[in-house]
Symmetry: C2
Subunit: 341 residues, 2 copies
DNA sequence: TTGAAAGCGCTAACAT
DNA sequence: ATGTTAGCGCTTTCAA
């Protein structure tokens, strides 16, 4: 009838009995119910399409599970998929279920999610790639729910964050090109101004660029694009059309743009790594691509464990800055003989 | 201290006031509180490290958000990442938040999750790639929470499921090889017996094989592997070592094994597609790989919308069987000129 | 075998 | 400005 969901009392009424009996029927106990009454209750249940309210139920029952909220920019990117997977596992190990949200790097959406999570009563919030840190932090302070930031964070000052040092990731990969391949002729592919990108992991790219620049020089060429694969494809293709490879090596600022860059270079008739070396960030843990990508990786499992430890307060003194590692493939010019796996 | 979490009453006690006042300071209203008392309450809050109980709170507040549970086999696979992303969006559009769980195709874990979700009170459960359908279905019936199955389902009879027809997916791709490339000399890469795989999407692979076989003949060679990339790499490499390509084309049963197969073929010194054509399933929506993969795709957004419509009861009559589409790349032997994007 | 009623932790009338 | 108290929807004890 009314827009309200039926409650136990409604069912009891309709079945001409008490809420206790309805509860017994629903839970198969703890007291027995006569077949006649049980049948009546069952049909009342069905007539009303009754569904128990989990919150009320959890309030009475000794509850095992609590919840955390997890905000991620984009679930379709493999890196973030890995994050979610690992975090969910760590959370479950601590009797917490994981509520998930796709922010798409949208500050408003991030805040809406945080509000929604607060409303259903999460016991902690994990934000991977924050887009609206100040407001989200504020909300959490008001609601007294702990937050931990991961990966990167936009617009925050105070916050400590758990993630890798993106600057040293940039140094790492540029150092490899310089030390192993004696290559300093490097260009950076990535969007770096707010004008280039409305939403996206601008800061991370900027920090990676910083790291690369500190190794190969501040004047390295930058191929400006937004943060989309097609943007990178277009920008790199354009540069190549305008006359030859700009550099002997390309460092691509985001994972999603790496394959597009490879494609653009190949479509222009250049060979990888013979004509152009290509390296990037956040490659998948096992790579069967061809040629195999050289990237800097994040230790996702370590990060996830640290984040949950801090969020749930068992580990308040963890250091938040972790070091990325180089995974050598073939696109940088190395020769890799071991089969992947 | 006791192991119990402090409640509002505890805080009120310690601050020498009432629960109402504590509630007022927590929520900034609806009544004002004197600065003195407010300060007392605040420090009591901090002393006890009070955290509100979301369930109790949600019970009183007019609640907007409800929750659904979403079970996925493996979040690190792009296909499932896409599923989760789309489903979360559709759920949110209906004022539902999404609780997520990684089953790893493990029947026990699936059931544990379902139990946990029931305990926190979800209003619906979406299972992508069920591993334990009968028991999960049972649980949901008992708890009166609606379930919708997606993608595929193991061991169920009654259930209707929302997903693509994997058999016709197999037909589609084998048909392309036959009709466009005049190629019937096809082998199938995939694990098909329970002995090969403990966990994994065995049934889906089996159905795809069925489709392929119905086009190219029931006697097609099958390269048996478990469902891991490294398994495929090993199996394909072994076959190639034993003397030449077994077939002019390879259909790979799972997405995760496709790149590994390509790698194995390339490492054996064969060219794709000149020596061996390779096609697969569930490629990412945009593919910048090189060569570009020819795959059969699932219309993830359509599936997600249909699933939520059915789960939340707005759309009980949707047909559950959807048709996959062929996305032509280069690994089958086609020549694709349009830049991707 | 059934029903009445006491809470779970919180919010917000309704009283002071 | 503060305290008292009636519920939210449910489980379960206690009484019948």
């Amino acid at each position: 009838m009314s827009g309200k969901r039926p409650t136990l009392a409604d069912v009891a009424n309709r079945a001409g009995t008490s809420t206790a009996v309805v509860s017994y029927v629903l839970n198969n106990g703890p007291r027995p119910v006569s077949d006649l009454l049980r049948a009546k209750v069952m049909s009342a249940l069905d007539d009303l399409d009754y569904r128990p309210d989990g919150r009320a139920r959890a309030l009475r029952r000794p509850r095992r599970w609590r919840q955390i909220g997890l905000l991620v920019p984009d679930l379709t990117l493999p890196l973030f998929g890995e994050f979610v997977g690992r975090i969910e596992v760590e959370a479950r190990a601590r009797d917490h279920l994981t509520l998930i949200g796709n922010t798409g790097y949208d500050p408003e959406r991030e805040l809406e999610f945080a509000t929604a999570f607060a409303e259903v009563g999460v016991d902690g919030l994990l934000v991977v790639g924050a887009a609206n840190a100040p407001q989200t932090a504020n909300l959490c302070r008001r609601e007294r729910i702990p937050v931990v930031w991961m990966h990167n964070i936009r617009g925050a000052v105070e916050a400590d964050i758990i993630g890798v040092d993106h600057v040293s990731a940039g140094e790492l990969i540029a150092g490899h090109l310089r030390d192993v391949h004696n290559c300093r002729d490097v260009a950076f592919v990535g969007g770096v101004t707010a004008a280039d990108v409305r939403h996206g992991d601008r800061e991370t790219v900027q920090q990676r660029l910083e790291g690369v620049a500190s190794v190969v020089g501040q004047d390295l060429p930058i191929i400006r694009t937004d943060l989309t694969p097609s943007g990178a494809y277009g920008a790199v293709s354009a540069i190549l059309r305008e006359g030859g490879p700009p550099s002997r090596a390309l460092v691509v600022g985001t994972y999603g743009q790496t394959a597009a860059t490879i494609r653009a270079v190949a479509d222009a008739g250049l060979r990888i790594p013979d004509d152009v070396r290509i390296v990037g960030f956040d490659g998948a843990a096992t790579d069967y691509g061809r040629p195999r990508l050289t990237t800097v990786q994040q230790p996702v499992d370590v990060l996830a464990r640290a984040a949950l430890g801090r969020l749930l307060g068992e580990n308040p003194s963890t250091r938040g800055q972790f070091v990325p590692t180089l995974r050598v493939g073939e696109t940088c010019g190395c020769v890799v003989s071991t089969p992947p796996g």
